[in-house]
Each structure stands twice: as C-alpha cells, then as structure tokens.
C-alpha cells in the first residue's frame, strides 16, 4: 500500500514513479498485458499484503488499544485502579483479567482468519512465484549479465543525493 510508504517517506512516491513507470498506469485496453503492467504474481502479492495488513490491524488495534488504555490509567488515575470492587478485587485487577481474556479472543480470531483467509492466498502466490521463477530460470543466464550491466549503469545515478 503506497499510502503507508508515503506516510513515512515523502520522497517515496516520486521515486516509485521514476522506478516503475508502468505500475500506476492502467494497462492498455484490448491488448494483452505487457511486461510493464502488474503481472499475476504482483497482483497476488498485493492481495496477500492486504490480507496481512488487515490481520495485523485486526489483532494489534484491540490488543494495544486495551493495553495502552491500561497504561494510561496507571499514570493518570492510579487511585481509580486501586478501588476495590468485590472483596479485595480492585478495578485494576479486573481490567488486567479483561486484558488477558481479550488477548485470548484476539489470538483465536487471528489464528482462524490467518488460516481461512491468508493461507490460501499465500499458497496461490507461492505457486505463481515458483512458476514464474521456473520460467525465468531458462532465460536467467542472459538476464543475469544484462541485469548486472544495468545495475552498474544505474548505480552512479541513484547515489546522487539531494
């Protein structure tokens, strides 16, 4: 997701455009996809990446939300956390137990969704990537020499700072 990269790195978008001119452009209509368009491997990779990000958000937001709330209360309202509810059990202890239960629930959901949503996509990407690698392996000898030539040509340009 390029927004994430842009958030961290203001120069990312410009460099990405410079690097891969075909990536943000729509593939020409009516023609078979060229080498510059997003191939099936790239698309599968985007799908897997999206699933991973979704899983991360779904697990980490409640987990760290609860935890940060607890930390905040610890420094902002220690007396509140020390208030007894039933017998010797305080609000702080109840919240801690709640945090543990939340963690278990998050873990269960994460495992389930990773199994049902991420694993099939990752398997698809793997087989696509392996097929692509096998296809390119035949042409790899010429490609390797060409790539190293291109890389050595590109290096001086890319090291020009701002």
């Amino acid at each position: 997701m390029s927004t994430w990269d842009e958030l961290w790195d203001p120069t990312y978008a410009a460099r990405a455009r410079q690097r891969r001119p075909g990536r943000h452009a729509a593939p020409p209509v009516g023609e078979p996809a060229r080498r510059t368009g997003p191939g099936p491997v790239t698309e599968a990779r985007h799908t897997v990446r999206r699933e991973v990000r979704r899983l991360h958000g779904q697990a980490l937001v409640p987990l760290f939300g609860g935890y940060l709330l607890l930390l905040f209360l610890c420094s902002a309202a220690p007396d509140l956390l020390g208030t007894a509810v039933v017998g010797g059990v305080t609000i702080g202890v109840v919240l801690l137990l709640g945090q543990f239960l939340l963690a278990f629930r998050v873990m269960r959901l994460f495992s389930r969704d990773a199994r049902t949503r991420l694993d099939p996509e990752a398997a698809r990407l793997r087989s696509l990537a392996e097929t692509a690698a096998a296809e390119s392996a035949t042409a790899s000898a010429e490609a390797a020499t060409a790539a190293s030539a291109a890389a050595s040509a590109a290096r001086p340009r890319s090291e020009v700072g701002w």
Binding site: T11, R49, S75, G88, L96, A103, S158
Partner: protein, 540 residues
C-alpha cells in the same frame, strides 16, 4: 535458609544430578548426529508443533522472568502484575507481527533475515554485533542470578561458593549448547517447561487452597502482608507515584513489550518450525502456555506477600528474587515434616532447572550469531563448508560461555540487575525498529539500518551509564559514587522512539539505492510465501 533443611538439600542435590544426567543423555542422543548446519541451528525443523511451542515458551520464560517477576509481584503487587501483562503481550506481538515473516524469510539467525534484504558485509557485522550485545548481558545476568540462587538452594554462603556454582552451571550449559545444538537445547527447554509448570502449578494450587480458592481473600491478605496496605494494589508501588516514577514505569513497560518480542534466542526458535502455519500454531500454544504459567507466577507472588510478608522478603533480598523459595518454606506445613520438605525440594528443582535451561538457550543464540553472522558470513564471505561452520558454532558456544562465566565471576560483587534492562532496552530500541522496518517498509535502506543499530547501541549504553542504575543509589552497580544525570533506570521511553527516528531519517536522507528496493521485493516475497527466489539461495 534455616539449617533444619539438610535432608531437603540432599533431595535437591540428587534431583539436580538426575536432571543434569538426563539432559546430557538427551543432548547426546538427540543432538545433530552429523555436521549439518541446518541440523545444528534449527534441529532440521523436526520438532513438532507442540514440542516447539514448549521450547519457545521455555526459552521465553527465563530464570530472571520467573524469579524477578515473582519478587516484583510479592513486593509491589499491581506493578508486578503489569509486568506479567507486558510479558504475555510481547509474545502475542511476536505471534502476530513477526512469527510468520521471520520463519519464512530467515534461515538460521536474525542476520539472515536482514541479509535477505541487504546482503552486504556491513549488515552482517551489525546484525552479529547487536545480537551479541543483546545476548551477552542477558547471559551474564542469568549466570550471576543462577550463582546466588543456587548457593541459597544448596545452603552455601560466601562468594567462593557462588563462584563455584556459576562455573559449574555455566560449564554444564555450554556443553549442552555445544553438543546438542538447537534440538538438544530444545529438549532441555521442554523438560524444564514441564517441570517448572508442574511445580509452579502445584505451588499456585497450594496457595489458592490456603485462601479457600478465593482471589479476593488472597488479594486482601497480600495487601496486608506486603506492609503497603492499599497502595499494594495501586499502580506506583514499585517506582513511586511522582512524575519520574510514572515515566520509569512507562519506560519499563514499553521496553518489556517491544524488547522481549525480539530477543535473538526467541526469534531463533521460530526458524525451527517446518512452515509458517506451524510457526503460527506453535506460537499460539506458546502464548497459551506462557500465559498459564504467568498466572501461576502471579498467584505465587501474591502468596509470598500474604504468607511470608513483604518485610521478610525484602530483608532476605531487596529485589525479592528468592521470594518463591521463601514461599515454599512456609507452604508445606511445619518445618521438618515430609510435606514441607517435598514442597521445598520440588520448587528448588523447578528454579534450578529454569536457570540451567535459560543459560543454555542464550548461549546457543549468542554462539549462532557469532559463528553464522560474524564468522561464516562477514569474515569468510559465506562460502564456508557446513562441517566447518558447525565446528565454528560449537567452538563459539564454548567461547561465549567462557566469556559469560568470566564476566559473571568478575562482576560477582556488583548488582548486575541493570544488565537485564540493558538487554531489553537494546532489543527494543535496535532490533525491534529494524525488524519492523525491514519487513514492512519499502523505503528502508542499509544506511537507515546501520544508523538504527549503532545509534541505538550508543544511546542505550550512554543513557544507562549515566542512569541511577549505575551510580548514585543503594541499588546501583557502583553505590559509592554518583555521576548520574539521566533520571530513568530503563531508557526505553527515549531510546525506542530515537531508534525508529534514526532508521527513518537515515533512510530518507538519501534516495534508496536500487539494490535496497529490489531487496525489499525479494524479502517481502520470501516473508509472505517462504519461497527462495532464483537469486543466490540464502543471501550473500
């Protein structure tokens, strides 16, 4: 300890010897039977899901975790419970964020993961240096704690006895790591986890039985026993409720959550899962086992405060590390009875086994980064035959162990608890940012990586040197002098954001070289699927 427990000590010594013998046998039988690097570093990915989970939680629950956490709960109540919360959360963070990509992308060590993206010598060296900087203090603190606790267990006193204990434990564990490799130490961790879980579970049940299975009664009794009254269950008992105390608490929590998540001996265990899905399932079990174990630790800590009393615990050891041993002396009934002796023996064995196993795990992790990252890849360019690399790893384990033992003996008279916070701070401020950036940020460059690694190393060491943990206080390494100006004992609240900032700034300050961007594509594909691309097989 009271001298009336002589017969118990015999039982404990016999149990130690049995455990040591069994572990040597296990290591010799299960250890890598040929000089195969994959066998030595990852046990050929042959441990099953559940055994791997036990090994992960065994590695995760170090002696310091068990003993210090029980002590903090006994002495500071709610603050200690927050420590267990952070400990459990850190493992969940590993499961969600790191387990699968690290399993997929790395071969043996963290350096492999980083080299999958930036296969240069500087990155290998930096990865190896930081891994050693994180593991060595951890090893020293485990060994040093081991020395004092085992001396107490065996009823010995004086520095000479401690030195002997440190040397013996260290030598045994170095043998395990060198002979058994990943599988051997894994089995040691499994045995340790079973023993520790069984005995802490029994301890917790005994405590709960005393308080009629009522958590409220236990909490009330613990508050009374601690001598702190109501503030025992209020945040702030450990560091005070002033501004510095609150900041310290926050800093410790952040450092613990992020630092424990990427300690090298934990992340190394992930590589020994056969595939990403198994790594995930293993982590799920490991989190469950760890959480259950931490629950028994909480009950034991509260029980220690309620039954032994805060004043007695603080008298025996200001950090409360031997509170669980003190608890075992009061739980089994009148001193000298069979019940009392049994409880003491069982708990002592659990503590001893935990200490031994944590030393072995950390030694192996340090040896692996030394042999694999620094020697095989940085010094020899990666072309080392496997047989020679395994031999190097075995010798590295011996070397790391000897250095650890020597340091632990030399620092015997000092309070080395600050090394624990040094380890966690380094891990949180150097390893966590680079792992997150490497795995998830396309624009990260080698420059940013080196800035974060060395910058965090410098900032953590500098701030710790001038913190109250080193000088100017009763609990400091050098209590006699005072040159501290930094107010916090754990600098994480400053150094973690600084580590992230350095990595970001180092990366965006110059345009990313094409090779780093291509490296991201390569690493991401590998992290998502586990395929190794058509390039050189494993980095370099």
């Amino acid at each position: 300890m009271s001298p009336a427990v002589g017969s118990v000590q015999t039982v404990v010594v016999v149990a130690f010897l049995v455990f040591v013998t069994v572990c040597v046998l296990l290591c010799a039988l299960a250890g890598p039977d040929r000089d195969d690097a994959a066998d030595f570093y990852t046990a050929n990915r042959s441990l099953g899901t559940f055994r791997n989970a036990l090994a992960i939680s065994g590695d995760y629950i170090s002696a310091a975790t068990v003993l210090s956490t029980t002590g903090v709960i006994a002495l500071a109540g709610f603050d200690g419970m927050m420590v267990t919360c952070a400990t459990a959360l850190a493992l969940l963070l590993v499961m969600v964020l790191l387990a699968e990509p690290l399993r997929n992308a790395g071969r043996f060590t963290l350096g492999d993961v980083l080299a999958a993206r930036m296969a240069t010598r500087q990155v290998r060296i930096a990865a190896g240096v930081v891994a050693l900087a994180v593991t060595m203090p951890f090893l020293v603190v485990q060994l040093s704690g081991a020395g004092s606790v085992v001396a107490v267990l065996l009823g010995l006193s004086g520095y000479g006895a401690r030195t002997v204990c440190v040397v013996l434990i260290g030598a045994t564990m170095v043998c395990y790591a060198a002979i058994g490799g990943m599988k051997g130490t894994g089995l040691v961790q499994i045995v340790k986890m079973v023993i520790a879980f069984a005995s802490f579970g029994a301890l917790a049940l005994l405590v709960l039985h005393r308080f009629e299975w009522n958590l409220g009664t236990l909490l009330t009794a613990a508050s009374q026993g601690s001598g702190l009254g109501d503030s025992y269950l209020r945040p702030g008992a450990q560091y005070g409720s002033g501004a510095t105390g609150r900041l310290e608490f926050l800093s410790v929590q952040i450092t613990l959550v992020l630092g424990a998540a990427c300690l090298p001996h934990i992340t190394m265990r992930l590589h020994s899962a056969p595939d990403a899905r198994t790594a995930r399932t293993s982590m799920r079990w490991a989190v469950g086992i760890t959480a259950a174990f931490l629950a028994t630790v909480v009950v034991a800590g509260l029980g220690a405060s309620a039954l032994v009393g805060g004043a007695v615990i603080r008298d025996a050891d200001p950090t409360g590390r031997i509170s669980v041993l003190l608890l075992s002396h009061t739980l089994g009934g009148a001193p000298g009875t069979t019940g009392s002796s049994a409880v003491i023996a069982v708990v002592s064995c659990a503590v001893f086994v935990t200490i031994l196993a944590s030393v072995a795990g950390v030694t192996l992790a340090a040896a692996c980064s030394l042999a694999h990252d620094l020697y095989a890849h940085a010094a020899r360019g990666g072309g080392l035959p496997e047989q020679r690399e395994v031999a190097a790893a075995r010798w590295a384990a011996v070397g790391v162990g000897v250095v650890g033992i020597v340091l632990a003996v030399l620092t015997e008279r000092w309070n080395v608890q600050m090394l624990l916070s040094l380890t966690y701070s380094l891990s949180a401020s150097a390893l966590f940012p680079i792992l997150v950036y490497s795995l998830f940020w396309r624009g990260f460059t080698q420059r940013g990586l080196l800035w974060t690694l060395y910058g965090s190393l410098a900032s953590v060491c500098l701030l710790m040197l001038f913190s109250p943990a080193v000088s100017g206080g009763p609990g400091a390494v050098f209590p006699g002098v005072d040159f501290h100006w930094f107010p916090l004992r754990t600098p994480g609240v400053v150094t973690v954001p600084l580590g992230f900032l350095l990595g970001w700034f180092g990366s965006v300050q110059r345009p990313a070289p094409e090779s780093d961007v291509a490296g991201f594509e390569r690493l991401e594909l590998r992290a998502l699927t586990g395929v190794t691309d058509s390039g050189p097989r494993h980095g370099q």
